[in-house]
């Protein structure tokens, strides 16, 4: 391993600009003559728009233009789309209601976009916005996930009677039910996977610009996937043809899924820029982010696990109601279906699985992928079920898991996916040792002596990453492919630009991708630049989500490097007067096998462009190659996280005493960055388990719409983490990468809840397990213990 190649904890190249304040985030961009946008949003969860009067507002100082849904409709701008078609159990397609970029006739959640006010300054736009008079006909609101489809509820979209979007299922129901009938023991649980608000620290922002000379548009936007934004805005919304629309996603301050989607504000800004022939800038404030960024999770689930007389799991069944909010966001339909039910086998050999999912509309913000997207929800179901089953059967939870682990690979689950490789026992062994599981009884006793409750919780999670094999996902309803593209451009002096369709918004691609290239070509890492986030520069791309940038994005780069190497060998053959097949490439040098004849990388690069010494009718000049990589399978990162908590029963305060994570991500490019990804994921998962929860009241007002009301994990809420790895390299990509971005967020919520329920001795603890929730649970435990 070289100091900067694959496997080295290279310090990040991109850090210098971030630690010196020289990053370029969208809100840092200002275009000549720009005007500023303010969005007038609905204060009601559900209402008809009876009249909009902006006569007074239009006269306010600095106002340039005011547009409403009528203007969008007049220009035939299409509605925002959901790009994954789900078919219901009865064969009918999902019922997607129209989602105009500015509300037309009706608003469906608090924060829904009613008008855009554009003025010379933001303050002027906002002041004018407050003068707009809108008559609303307020309708009853639907906000509760579990009861959204019950008779008598308000109807949100005409196309979706009873607010039902789809009733989808997966697996063999009859075989699963038969296995339950034959079971020795059945564990049943009811779970709520609490609704979360992603809250990347950088709020969304957009600057739309129109160039009348070329009749083309440029959108600077906070996106995880600028090419997808471009194709949706072109092909579905009709903003401009793709060749006339440039989308630039510069430095992006975190996404966690929430910046995958194509939103109303960005769409309206770029559309309006052409209307007024001036750049239009909008930056979300945090309250707007709470109201209108797509939220995550929000499942209500009943799940059951069947176990035979030998303690083997024989079947799992789950019924889930998934709240998709007021409109179907870009990927929303896939999250509670294919990103959820496909993972219900967990790390276990479960012969029969059946899942049924009802997706429902409510008068709340759209819900879509948030870190893990469906997989945390699946893991919460599986790992709570397994934990509770072990407890009910009087089995050690670690050993009950081990007894049911899948041990031979490849393994075909009953829910579509085929796990290529893994070693779940090895991760468990290592985690048990690191967590000092043997000492837990003594530590529980020591806590009890202080009047505290101590508990330990396991989570043996799995996820499917590297989305994904195009034919497979296409057959499941995906509207796009799952490939990634790369171009490796060798300059005349041997420095290299890599243009990638992946997008970095904290993951450190400028470093990890450069490690791959520097290692392969034997050149200094400083000589490699990674270019991403600009549709005019980068050929094509699907963007970054679901830990696809390593397994898919880097493999595309690797494939392009293969082509570069092959061509360079041809040129070297001519230069060294040898057959290309006799050329070896190592450490930046091309050598004729068995001789001392060689040429270095820089000279070869120069020769490739000088083109003096090889026949250009046989070998084209230049050294630049591109590749598309379409994966053959998903990747399956897995691991074991162990959480140990101490609870003060007087206050309900939960202290995480130890966190042990042993993950299998296959091969690692940069262990330092991988650890950082795990830390961040765990923090978001602990946030979900203990602190975070979006709350709508029954009128549909979001009562957790600021950092004062929605509890973001802060430094003193969290522990330090003990993070380690085992490795079974992935077999479906040549680099052996599985991906690490979501692991922590997927693993941690059940680990925390399993620890708390272990401590209090009963299962009735919901997320977020705030001090109040835990205090009540602890009192129940104490009362029960006293009675016994």
């Amino acid at each position: 391993m070289s100091a900067t190649g694959i496997g080295a904890s290279v310090k990040r190249k991109e850090d210098i600009r971030f630690i010196t304040g020289k990053g370029h985030y969208v809100d840092d961009i200002n275009r000549p003559g720009q005007a500023h946008a303010y969005f007038v949003r609905s204060p009601h969860a559900h209402a008809t728009i009876d009249k909009i009067d902006f006569t007074e507002a239009a006269k306010m100082p600095g106002v340039v233009a005011i547009f409403t849904g009528d203007d969008i409709a007049k220009d035939k701008i299409g509605g925002l789309i959901c790009g994954w078609a789900i078919t219901s159990k009865d064969g009918t397609p999902m019922k997607a209601g129209a989602h105009p970029a500015l509300a037309h006739g009706k608003v469906r959640y608090v924060g829904d976009h009613v008008a855009i006010v554009i003025a010379d300054t933001y303050a002027q736009a906002r002041e004018a916005g407050e003068k707009i008079e809108i008559d609303y006909g307020v309708l009853p609101a639907v906000t509760d996930t579990a009861t959204a489809t019950q008779p008598g509820q308000a109807q949100i979209h005409d196309v979706a009677p009873d607010n039902k979007i789809y009733n989808w299922h997966l697996g063999d129901q009859a075989a699963t039910d038969a296995a339950f009938k034959a079971a020795k023991h059945v564990t049943k649980i009811d779970l709520v996977n609490n609704r979360l608000i992603p809250n990347p620290m950088e709020p969304r922002a957009a600057v739309g610009e129109y160039d009348s000379g070329s009749d083309s548009l440029t959108l600077y936007t906070t996106s995880q996937n600028p090419h997808v934004t471009r194709v949706v805005m072109s092909a579905f919304l009709g903003i401009a043809p793709e060749n006339k629309l440039r989308v630039i996603a510069p430095d992006v301050g975190g996404g966690f899924g929430s910046k995958i989607f194509i939103y109303a504000e960005e769409t309206v800004c770029i559309w309006a820029a052409r209307k007024i022939n001036r750049p239009v800038k909008w930056t979300s404030d945090r309250t707007e982010a709470f109201l209108s960024d797509a939220h995550g999770r929000d499942h209500v689930t009943h799940a059951e696990l069947a176990v035979d007389a030998n303690g083997k799991i024989t079947a799992l069944r789950a019924h889930t109601i998934a709240n998709l909010g007021a409109y179907m966001s870009t990927f929303s339909s896939a999250v509670p279906t294919y990103l959820y039910a496909l993972l219900l086998s967990g790390q276990y050999n479960i012969p029969h699985i059946h899942a049924e999912v009802d997706a429902v509309y409510t008068n709340t913000a759209p819900v879509d992928a948030y870190r893990g997207a469906g997989r945390p929800e699946a893991t919460f179901v599986v790992e709570r079920l397994v934990e509770v089953a072990a407890r009910e059967l009087g089995r050690d939870p670690a050993e009950f898991r081990r007894a049911n682990f899948i041990t031979s690979f490849p393994h075909q689950t009953p829910v579509i996916v085929n796990y290529d490789t893994g070693n779940y026992g090895a991760a468990l062994d290592k985690a048990l040792a690191l967590a000092d599981y043997k000492g837990i009884a003594a530590r529980k006793a020591a806590s009890a002596a202080k009047g505290k409750l101590r508990g330990i919780g396991f989570s043996a999670y799995i996820e499917a990453c590297g989305l994904g094999p195009s034919r497979a996902i296409g057959s499941l309803g995906a509207g796009v492919g799952g490939w990634e593209s790369a171009e490796v451009r060798v300059n005349m002096v041997g420095t290299v630009e890599v243009l990638t369709g992946s997008h970095s918004h904290g993951q450190g691609h400028e470093t990890t991708f450069a490690q791959l290239v520097a290692g392969r070509l034997g050149i200094p890492i400083e000589n490699v630049n990674i270019v991403h986030g600009d549709t005019d520069k980068v050929q094509m791309g699907m963007g970054t989500y679901g830990s696809r940038s390593g397994a898919v994005g880097m493999t595309a780069i690797s494939k392009a490097l293969d082509k570069v190497e092959a061509k360079a060998k041809k040129i070297a053959g001519h230069l060294l007067e040898a057959s290309e097949h006799d050329i070896e490439f190592k450490d930046g040098k091309f050598t004729v096998k068995g001789t001392d004849k060689s040429i270095d990388w820089v000279s070869l690069s120069l020769s490739a462009y000088a083109a003096h010494k090889f026949p250009t009718d046989e070998v084209e000049p230049g050294l630049k190659e591109s590749a598309f990589w379409d994966p053959a399978n998903f990747t399956f990162p897995a691991g074991v996280h162990i959480c140990e908590v101490e609870i003060d029963p007087q206050t309900g305060v939960v202290t995480i005493e130890r966190w042990t994570a042993v993950d299998d991500f296959g091969n690692l490019i940069n262990p330092m960055i991988v650890e950082g990804q795990v830390h961040g994921g765990i923090a978001q998962g602990i946030g979900q388990a203990l602190l975070e929860g979006a709350v709508y009241n029954k009128d549909g007002q979001l009562v957790t719409a600021s950092f004062m009301d929605y509890t973001m994990p802060r430094a003193d809420d969290l522990p330090s983490y003990h993070v380690d790895t085992v490795s079974t390299p992935c077999t479906s990509n040549p680099l052996g990468l599985k991906g690490c971005g979501e692991a922590g967020a997927i693993a941690s919520p059940p680990a925390v809840i399993n620890a708390i329920t272990d401590a209090v001795g009963h299962e009735n603890v919901s997320m977020p397990a705030t001090s109040q929730v835990v205090w009540r649970a602890a009192q129940k435990a104490i009362t029960k213990r006293a009675a016994e």
Binding site: K11, R12, E14, D15, I16, R17, F18, I19, T20, G21, K22, G23, H24, Y25, D27, D28, N30, A123, N199, P200, M201, E202, P203, D251, V252, G253, G254, F256, T283, D285, R286, T287, H505, G506, Q507, G508, M672, I673, E675, G676, H679, G680, G681, I682, A683, Q684, S706, F707, M708, M712, P713, R714, A715, D716, L718, S720, Y721, G744
Partner: protein, 163 residues
Amino acid sequence: MISVSMTVNGKAVSAQVDPRTLLVQFIRENLRLTGTHVGCDTSQCGACVVHVDGRAIKSCTALAASLQGAHVTTIEGVAHDGKLHPMQQAFQDNHGLQCGFCTPGMIMTSIDMVNRLGPSLDETTIRHELEGNICRCTGYHNIVKSVKQGASEMGASHAKAAE
């Protein structure tokens, strides 16, 4: 409009601004120093922390007009002579940042923490002191390590300067 004059990163600056202009708006929009970020509207997140007369403040909580004559340091002003401040270097060394958005505020808060509490800081103190700065990426583990290293190196360079 109202006239505002202050010193920012050692340079005298002045401008005519709307009296409602917050310090962070003055820094970002008038001076185009965009390293100071805005992450919320309730003074909770700390992405906008700068130093005013040597003390860390959230620049979204102060009106520019109230800081007539003040000495302000932003993230752009902490490196000197082409050399990173030890706290900046510590954040890179320990992978104390991912997306980088909260980082300027984190660094400014951390430098202030060391200025107030000295260079030997334990984990509990660091975590408590970072309470006003939110990071969504790192889970804080590596930020805590960064602050520890930055603090001890600030201590060492002070000691060296005193010799």
